[in-house]
Subunit: 546 residues, 2 copies
C-alpha cells in the first residue's frame, strides 16, 4: 500500500460533503421546533417555521426580480424580524447581504450603495430622511422595498415601490433551501466606519459565518434554547453573527428597535432573557440605571461585552448588579468576536477589583479561530509574555474576513505576513492573555513617552461621577502631544475640573495626567463606540498652548 | 461591477484560512488551562499542558522512527491516558490512527494490521494473548510499543521493543503542532465489525472529526469544563469523537479500563462526573444496579445512549434513577452520532411512558450533518411522515465518512444515489423524527407479514425479570420465518417460558409472539451490541419445526 491509499477512491461526493453555511441552521430549527417562538417584536410572535417560510418567500421575491448569485442586497434596518429574515433569505439566493449602519449620513450611504453595487435596498421608514437623499445621489435606479414596522410610530415616509409584506406576500414559500456550491462564497458585506478615507467593504463568507455561529455557542458556553435580547445592532458585523448563532441555538430572539435601559430591563424581566451582547456604553447604562428597574429579575443573565476595550468600572458595575459578563474581542474584519477572555474558576475567589482586571482583557482565541497574537509588525515575531513589550494584535484563521471588496491594496496590507493586522496595540500577559493598550493611532506620545489613552480612561472611569471618558492627544509645543480628557457625567452627578485633576494626581503617573478636562456629552457611533476622531479635532482647536 | 467581484482578489491565504482539524483544540486547552486536570486515571492526574506535551513527544518519537503522512499507526488500548494522547499525537504527524477493538480474535487483528498496512502497533499488555499470535500471522515486522499500565495488574506480557513511556521519554516536546494542509486528509481508520465478509475500514477526515467534535457539544448542550467519564470505548468510532470534543470543551476526562456499574457510580460520585456515553447495556447495568451504589450522587448527570436502538425500559429505568439521558443515533460510517432525539420541553409534562416513547427515537440531524432521511432505496424518494411507511435510514453531509479504505466497490454502494445507506429500516413519524424499526437483515418475515424484532424486544424488556432481550428469525416450515426470543434475566430474578409467553399474549399481536424462548446470557460485542448473527445460528439449530 502506498502512502497515498488514504486519498485513493475517497473523494468528496454528494453523500459526504456539503459546503458549510449557517443557512442550514434555520432549516434545522424550523424542522425540529416549528412551533417554538423564534422572534418576539412588540406584540408580534413568530415561530421558527414561520420565519423559515418568510425567509424562503423573501428569497423567491428577490430572484423573481432578477437577483442573482453575487448580487448585493443592501438593508437599512433596525433589529426587527425583517432584519433577521434578511440574514437568511438574501444569502440563500447566492446574493450578498449588505447591512448599512442606520446612523450614517446620505453621502456615505450613497457611497456604499454604489461601491457595493447594491441592486436592492430594503429600508425602514424611520430612515427615509437619510435614504431619500442617498438614493438621489447614486445616479441609477435600484429596487427599493420599505419596511413599515407597526412598532414604529415616528416620522418618515415610504420611498420604495412596495412594502416588504407585499413584496414577500405574493412569493412562494417553496424556494429551494440549497447551500452554496462553495463555502468560500460571500455571504455578507459590512462597511467599516473608517476615520480617514472611504469606508472599506469587509466581505464574509459562508464558511466563516458558520464557524463563528458555532463558536459563539461553544466559546461562550451558551445553552440550547437561550432567550437572546437584541441590544447589539444586527447591522454591526451581522450582529457578531448572532442571527446565525440563534438559528443554531433554536432559541428565541427578542427584538429591540432602540437601546434604552428601561426597555432592556423590562424585556429581560418579561421574556426571561438569558443572553445579550453590547458595547460598553450599553453595559454602562445598565450598571448605572436606577435599582428599581431591575426589580423582579431573579434569573441568570449573561452578557458579552466588546466593541471597544471595556472600562474596568463598567465590568465591575455589571458584576455588582449580578449579571455574568464575558469579555470578547474582535473587529469587523473578524466576524465580530474572535477572541474571548476565557474565565477561570479560580478567579471567583479573588477580590472584585482583581476579577475585573482578569476579566477585562482581550484574552485568547475563539474555538474556531486559529490564533491571536501580539507581534512586532516589523519582524512579525511575537512579543515576550512579560506584560510590558508592546506589539500589534494580529489574528489568523477561519474567522478572518475574505478581504475588502474591490480593494486589493487594502486587503494585501491587512494580510501582510500571513496575519490580519488589527491596528490595536497590546501586551502579552504572563498567562498568555492579550491585554490591549491602545489603537495605534490613539497612543499619545508625550515627551518621548508613550501614554496609553485607555489606561488614563480606565482611571477616569473609576471616579464616581464619570459615566464615560475619552482621552486623546492634543498638540503641545513643549511635549509634542499631551493627553486631553473628555468626560460625560452621570445623570445628577457634579464635579469640577479641579476635583478630576486631583483624582488623577492621586491615581496615575504625573506625565499621564490630562492637561485639560472638557465636560459634555461624548459623540458616539451607533454601536456605542466613542468617536475619537471628532474629539481629536476638538482637542486641537481648544488647546491653549500654555 | 460584475457578479464576480466577490471572488476577485479575495482568495484564501495564510491569514484567513486554516484546514479544520480537531487537533487545534488540544493546543487551545493547553494554552488557556495549562494546569487544569485533563485526565484522571486511578491515582494519576495529568494536566492539559502535560497531555499536550506528551502528545507532541509521541509525534516526535513516531516521526523519528520514520512515520510519514498517510502511514497507519494501530493501537490496541483501553480507555487510558495513552489512548487519549494517541488521538492527537498520531494524526498531528499526518499519520492515521487505527484503533483496534480489544475483543477481536488474532486472525481479525492480523487482517486489519495488514489491510491498513500498520507500521506501528501500540498495545496494552492485557491483550498480548491476542496480539502475539496476530503479529506472528502478519508475515512482516512492524514497530511494537507496549503500554504497561500500573492500573492493570492482570496477566499478559510485553511484546514490543520498548515501553510507551520509554518511547516518548526521549522525544522532544517541541514537535511542531501544525494542522494538515488539507482538511480532507484522513485522521483515523475504524474497522466495522461486519457479520459477513471481511471488516471494512472506515476512513474519517480532519474536517469531519472537527465538526463532529463541536456538534457533540452544541447538539447535546454540553457546558464548558464538563467532567466526562469514559464508559464508551475510545476504540469505537474514536469514542464518538469525544476525545476531540473534550479537548474543545477543556473539561476533565475520567478514564476507565473496564465497564462495571459499581466503578461507574463510584467515579461519578468521587469526581462529580457530569457526562458520559454508552450502549444500552451500560445504561441497563446502571438502571438495575443496587440503589445503595448511587448514594451520595446528588448532582446532575447527563448520558448519551446509542449504539443500538435503546429498549424503552432502559430509558425509563434511567429516568427513574434521575439521570438525564439523551438518545443519539449513528454508525461507524457517521463518526458515531450524527442524529439526536432532540428534546422538547413540552415532553416533560407527559407521562413517563410517553416521554420514553418520545425520547427513544433516532430523531433528527446533528447540527453539523446535512440530513437524515428515510428513503425508499429503490426510488430514493422520502417516505411519508405517517409513522407507517418503511424505508431505509440514510445520511448525507459532513458527518459521513470519507469512504472505505481500499474498497471502492463498497464505498460506491454505500454512497449510491448521493446518500449514505445505513441498512437500518425505519418510519418517519408525524413530527419528522426518525423511528427505527429494524436492521434490514433483522426483519422477520412471517407468513408474509413483516415483524420488527425491535418491537418485540421492546415489549420483552418491559417484563420485570428481563435484563436483555434479542429476537431473531428462526426458519419455519409453515410461516417461512418465526420470531425466536433470547432472554437474559436480571440477577436474582426468575421466570418461566410460560410466564413470558403469557406476557407476550397480553402485550402484542398474535403473529408477533415468539415461537420459542431461550434463556441465558446473550453474546455481546465489546461495545455492548448483542451479536444477533450468533443467535440466528442458534435459532436455526434449536428450532423444533413443530
Amino acid at each position: 500500500m502506498s502512502h497515498q491509499s488514504y486519498n485513493v477512491d475517497l473523494a468528496k461526493c454528494e453523500a459526504n460533503y456539503t459546503a458549510l453555511s449557517p443557512l442550514t441552521f434555520l432549516e434545522r430549527s424550523a424542522y425540529i421546533y416549528p412551533q417554538r417562538i423564534a422572534l418576539i417584536h412588540g406584540a408580534r410572535r413568530q415561530t421558527w417555521l414561520q420565519t423559515y417560510r418568510r425567509a424562503r418567500r423573501l428569497a423567491w421575491a428577490l430572484v423573481a426580480r432578477g437577483i442573482q448569485r453575487g448580487d448585493t442586497v443592501a438593508v437599512m434596518l433596525n433589529n426587527t424580524p425583517e432584519m433577521f429574515e434578511c440574514h437568511f433569505g438574501v444569502p440563500v439566493t447566492g446574493a450578498v447581504l449588505n447591512t448599512l449602519n442606520t446612523r450614517l449620513d446620505p453621502d456615505t450611504v450613497a457611497f456604499m450603495l454604489n461601491h457595493g453595487d447594491a441592486r436592492v435596498l430594503i429600508t425602514d421608514r424611520e430612515y427615509s430622511h437619510i435614504v431619500k437623499p442617498a438614493l438621489e445621489k447614486i445616479g441609477r435606479s435600484i429596487i427599493v422595498i420599505d419596511v413599515d414596522d407597526p412598532e414604529y410610530t415616528g416620522s418618515g415616509e415610504r420611498l420604495g415601490e412596495m412594502d416588504y409584506e407585499a413584496f414577500i406576500g405574493n412569493a412562494s414559500e417553496l424556494f429551494p433551501w440549497t447551500m452554496p456550491d462553495d463555502e468560500w462564497n460571500a455571504i455578507s458585506l459590512n462597511y467599516t466606519s473608517g476615520t480617514t478615507g472611504n469606508p472599506k467593504g469587509v466581505v464574509y463568507h459562508h464558511r466563516g459565518a458558520y464557524l463563528n455561529a458555532l463558536s459563539n455557542i461553544v466559546s461562550w458556553g451558551m445553552p440550547p434554547a437561550s432567550v437572546y435580547l437584541w441590544t447589539l445592532p444586527m447591522f454591526h458585523c451581522n450582529g457578531w453573527c448572532f442571527p446565525w448563532t440563534m438559528a443554531a441555538n433554536s432559541g428565541t430572539n427578542v427584538c429591540l428597535r432602540k437601546v434604552d435601559a428601561k426597555l432592556i430591563f423590562d424585556a429581560i424581566r418579561e421574556y426571561k432573557v438569558t443572553h445579550y451582547c453590547g458595547a460598553p456604553i450599553v453595559h454602562a447604562m445598565l450598571a448605572n440605571a436606577p435599582e428599581e428597574w431591575r426589580k423582579g429579575i431573579n434569573h441568570k443573565v449573561s452578557g458579552l461585552i466588546a466593541a471597544a476595550p471595556p472600562p474596568a468600572a463598567v465590568i465591575e458595575g455589571m458584576a455588582k448588579i449580578g449579571f455574568d459578563v464575558t469579555h470578547v474581542y474582535g473587529l469587523t474584519e473578524t466576524y465580530g468576536p474572535a477572541a474571548v477572555c476565557a474565565k477561570h474558576p479560580e478567579w471567583e475567589q479573588m477580590s472584585l477589583a482583581d476579577q475585573v482586571t482578569k476579566n477585562g482583557r482581550q484574552g485568547v482565541r475563539y474555538h474556531a479561530e486559529e490564533g491571536i497574537s501580539v507581534l512586532d509588525p516589523a519582524t512579525m515575531q511575537p512579543v515576550a509574555w512579560d506584560n510590558d513589550a508592546m506589539g500589534e494584535i494580529m489574528f489568523r484563521g477561519n474567522l478572518v474576513m475574505k478581504g475588502y471588496l474591490n480593494n486589493p491594496k487594502a486587503t494585501e496590507e491587512a494580510f501582510a505576513g500571513g496575519w490580519y493586522h488589527t491596528g490595536d496595540l497590546a501586551v502579552m500577559q504572563h498567562d498568555g492573555y492579550v491585554k490591549i493598550k491602545d489603537r495605534s493611532k490613539d497612543v499619545i506620545i508625550s515627551g518621548g513617552e508613550n501614554i496609553s489613552s485607555i489606561e488614563v480612561e480606565d482611571t477616569l472611569y473609576k471616579h464616581p461621577a464619570v459615566l464615560a471618558a475619552a482621552v486623546v492627544a492634543a498638540p503641545d509645543e513643549k511635549w509634542g502631544e499631551v493627553p486631553c480628557a473628555f468626560i460625560e457625567l452621570k445623570e445628577g452627578s457634579q464635579t469640577t475640573e479641579h476635583e478630576i485633576m486631583q483624582f488623577c494626581r492621586d491615581n496615575m503617573a504625573r506625565f499621564k495626567i490630562p492637561k485639560q478636562i472638557i465636560f459634555g456629552a461624548l459623540p458616539k457611533t451607533s454601536t456605542g463606540k466613542i468617536q475619537k476622531f471628532i474629539l481629536r479635532e476638538r482637542a486641537k482647536s481648544t488647546t491653549s498652548f500654555e
